[in-house]
């Protein structure tokens, strides 16, 4: 996969932590997944038929999950935007620092392409950062998908690619988790009138 495309995929992940609107964030994750699918297809030449199947699985993910998430935001309208604990620049700086640390501290993983390795690990960490930094349920869900995209980036870059069984299984699992999470988000919205996770926290010792 070209360095430029990998950089675009990384930047789209970083953008998710900055934007305010849920619909824009879903669009960014859809674009990221699409770029990943196209990049994977570009690598399919000279690889096995299994790999081609795995690439199509990624493209399907790029379409199915955003549709599911758009349906969710239509069912859970927010009366007003959830105010973030930190401003967009602070969030961006935090996520940027995380991505930079991944680049500096991560030893080689054996892929022979340090740019892809660093970008993939950075995306997993950015996904975790999104879950930590963003209060709306939907953004936390998007954080999971961004982390998943980081894993997919590394998986398609494995020489010969990962088995399609793993790719299809991972997509099935992710779709299942997203569906359950969407059901949670809807139920929580019914219960609280908002998807702000800050309003949920009543547990702890």
């Amino acid at each position: 996969m070209s360095s430029a495309l990998v950089t675009v995929i990384l930047l789209l992940g970083l953008a998710v932590i900055v934007v305010r609107r849920r619909s824009v964030a879903i669009g960014l994750v859809a674009a990221q997944s699409l770029a990943l699918g196209i990049g994977a297809l570009g690598l399919a030449g000279g690889r096995s038929g299994d790999y081609l199947v795995a690439s199509f699985v990624l493209l399907i993910k790029a379409v199915v999950l955003p549709v599911l998430l758009y349906a969710l935001i239509r069912r859970t309208p927010e009366p007003r935007l959830v105010v973030a604990a930190n401003g967009p620049l602070v969030r961006l700086a935090g996520a940027g620092a995380v991505a930079l640390c991944a680049g500096l501290l991560m030893p080689p993983l054996g892929l022979g392409n340090s740019h892809t390795e660093h970008a993939a690990v950075a995306l997993v960490l950015i996904g975790i950062a999104i879950v930590v930094a963003r209060r709306p349920l939907l953004f936390q869900l998007l954080g999971l998908i961004v982390a998943e995209n980081g894993l997919a980036l590394l998986a398609v870059s494995v020489p010969g690619g990962l088995s399609y069984v793993v790719e299809i299984g991972a997509l099935f699992d992710l779709a299942m988790v997203v569906t359950v999470a969407a059901a949670f988000a809807h139920r929580i919205h019914v219960e609280l009138g908002t998807g702000d996770t800050e309003r949920l926290g009543g547990l702890g010792d």
Partner: protein
Amino acid sequence: MTDLVPVLVVLVPAIPLVGAGLALLARTARQADRLAMATAVVTAVAALILACTAFARGGQAALHGRWYLVDGASGLLLAVIAVVGLCSALVSPSYLRTSGRSWTTAARSRSLYYAALFVFWAALLAVPVAGNLAVVWLIVEATTAASALLVAFTGRRRALDAGWKYLVLTTLGLSVALLGIIVLAIGQANAGHHDLRALDWHTLRLAAHTLPKDPTLIAFVLLLVGLAAKIGWAPVHNWLPDAHSEAPAPISALLSAALLPTVLLIAWRVKQILEPSVGVGTTRAVFIAFGLTSMLVAIPFLWQSLPWKRLLAYSSLEHMGVIALGIGFGTPLAIAGVVIHVAGHALAKALGFYAALPLLRIDSDAGRRAPTGVAGESPTTAAAMGISLAALAGLPPSPLFLSELLIVLGGVAAGQVVVTAVAVLALALGFLGLLHALIEGVIGDKPAHRRRRPERGQRTTVALTAILGTGLLALFAAGVLLVNSSFVETLTRGTL
């Protein structure tokens, strides 16, 4: 008997999956209950036959197939999951009759509850026999979705919070574990192994010494850290107390007694396959670090007056730490202790969670504060709570007393004297905390404002207390025979 293994390996998870589908078709509550009971009994029988087949092979090498692997550890976990799953299914009608509120409409809630329970149970039963690391990961991820719905089954705000936290944190943890698996796949691909078989337990074990050391070390750490989030090891255990205390009691039992040790089995297998590349010292250090941290973090909570199920949740944190410590020591004595501990913890913890059902009926506030003087109101419930807590504390003749003793001796045999000393101190403090809860909760003073209510519908509690209590005693006796057995010797050596 081994000829049946390939068939049983498919049947064991398939039966509850079919049961889940049928539960959705049930038209009445009675029909759903009966269907669930029948499915549970057939599933448990099939799983126990498979477990017995694994046990009967004693110290022999694992059985391998294209998709499966059956060894002594599979047998142990299959037996645990079968027994706890069966008991949870048997007490579920009692829970559903009195649960009151649920996430969905009353008409659908029972069917959905059983469907999710059986999908969760099927996934749990598939993990110990799955022969491939990537496939195991996919199955564990599937347990998350099904069990998260069950954790939030009541639909109450706190349950939704617990379910959401569980879903997000464990999914993130499993993402980190998958990163470790992909790093392993890169190492295998560079060695010319490209297909799914490259990640078979058996293949990885054979290839471990050829894997590059540094990336494999990263893979090992990522896998362990990721799995730790699902096992509930400190410091990544935040979801555990909330999920265990907010889930329906039969589900809490499955989460604590079956899910946690099942995921721990994966961590144990990862240790076995990667040890030749990463080094015994490193793998041992990681397990001991997680084990000791979990035990130490649990202590302050075991000393607090916590609601019953929350106390049991923190006890799970302590016991998963004890098991990690035993695996970390890795000596035959410690491994014998691990085997007894996994089984003993499952029986005692499941009984404790089942006791929460009558406890909440006699004291509706028991979900929010520590119980006191239960014996004065319900001797049956008090007996179940007492046996469970005494066993979990490690009071002789609890099998956990024997297992902890073996793990401590195993630690000394491994030359880990300082670690063992800290562990003994942590165990003693944990013991005192649980003993205090036992005295206060069971035979302490009954609050003056609470009137004694007639005990109703206690037959299930009595039966489960008798069966699981007898099981605990039998395990103590069997545990003594386990030391120096070929079964433990093979587990210590590694069977993959």
